[in-house]
């Protein structure tokens, strides 16, 4: 295979790159805060349910738990794992296909293995 072409960035380019990286890092931290926040809510909700706080029924808590889990996964994939960036078309396609099959498998096991 061919050698890697070494390319020296001009100071302007370099600084731009640094700024972009910083900005995306700030973004990551915000996403992290959001994830922690969601986790906290999830745990708190279950605690509340357990201690019998009114309004926390199973049918309310479980969907929200699952929703939050899904959101967290999205955050991990799109921000921490950079799936939102360019050049991730193939990874995205395969992750989505995998997720679809995963969903189907879980769905059937929940629906038709009942005895």
């Amino acid at each position: 295979m061919a050698e890697v072409q070494v390319y020296k960035k001009s100071p302007a380019e370099f600084n731009l790159g640094q700024r972009r990286a910083k900005k995306s890092m700030r973004n990551q931290i915000m996403m992290f805060a959001l994830m922690i926040f969601l986790t906290l809510i999830s745990f708190t909700m279950v605690m509340a349910y357990n201690s019998g706080v009114a309004g926390f029924s199973e049918y309310f808590v479980i969907p929200i738990l699952l929703l939050f889990a899904a959101v967290q996964v999205g955050l991990q994939l799109y921000f921490f794992m950079h799936m939102s960036e360019k050049g991730h078309g193939i990874p995205m396609m395969f992750m989505y296909t995998g997720a679809l099959f995963a969903f189907l498998i879980v769905l059937t096991f929940v629906a038709i293995v009942w005895w």
Partner: protein, 208 residues
């Protein structure tokens, strides 16, 4: 490829993890592998859900009786934080700052170690209570699902330790940049799986 080629932050490419042909292959291949892992864990989850709380006649252990949320919460925080620290490490990798990258990865590994430690503690605790791998279908499914995740964490720890030591003297180059990057993908994926474990196994388990 020439390992001795010296880079500076100015010459370091924007996407070091995909800069060489081999690196690009590794990058794509690893993502595909994660796609397969998704299905693997889905099968484990599905089985766990189907066998949850199922045991021989008169079996006493249930999710509600077993699980302790505070412990799980601490584990979750450790793992989530380790995800952030590995993001930091990758940030420094892109900036060609080898020392900081190593440092943040070492922190990541320590957090992971803490997680594993707590998991081992948890398992030992269950076994002491009589909730052993062979005591019921539920226990088998539980230990297999959570254990497989734990095993992934352990593999990740060995992997990153080897990487850290192997490259400590050599610094960052385009040969090992992709190795670091795939590790970080792996680590995030482990976190993704954990999110579902704490939700489906622990939180939903406590609910009943």
């Amino acid at each position: 490829m020439d390992l001795n080629k010296k880079f500076t932050p100015e010459t370091w490419p924007d996407h070091p993890e995909r800069a060489t042909h081999e690196a690009k292959n590794k990058f794509v291949g690893f993502w595909l592998f994660l796609g397969g892992e998704t299905v693997l864990f889905a099968t484990l989850f599905a089985t766990y859900i189907a066998l949850k709380n199922k045991g021989p006649a008169g079996y006493e252990h249930t999710t509600q009786e077993l699980f302790e949320l505070p412990l799980v919460f601490v584990m979750t925080m450790l793992l989530l934080t380790s995800s952030l620290t590995s993001v930091y490490a990758m940030y420094h990798m892109k900036n060609f700052n080898f020392k900081k990258m190593q440092l943040w990865l070492a922190i990541t590994a320590l957090l992971g170690l803490g997680f594993i430690g707590l998991e081992v503690y948890e398992f030992v605790h269950y076994v002491k209570e009589g909730f052993t791998f062979d005591s019921s279908a539920f226990s088998s499914a539980f230990f297999t699902l959570v254990g497989t995740h734990g095993f992934h964490v352990a593999i990740g720890l060995v992997w990153i330790t080897l990487l850290l030591i192997r490259n400590a003297k050599r610094g960052l180059n385009l040969y090992n940049a992709s190795k670091y990057y795939t590790f970080s993908l792996y680590w995030h994926f482990i976190d993704v799986v954990w999110v579902f474990i704490f939700t489906v196994v622990y939180l939903m388990g406590v609910i009943g």
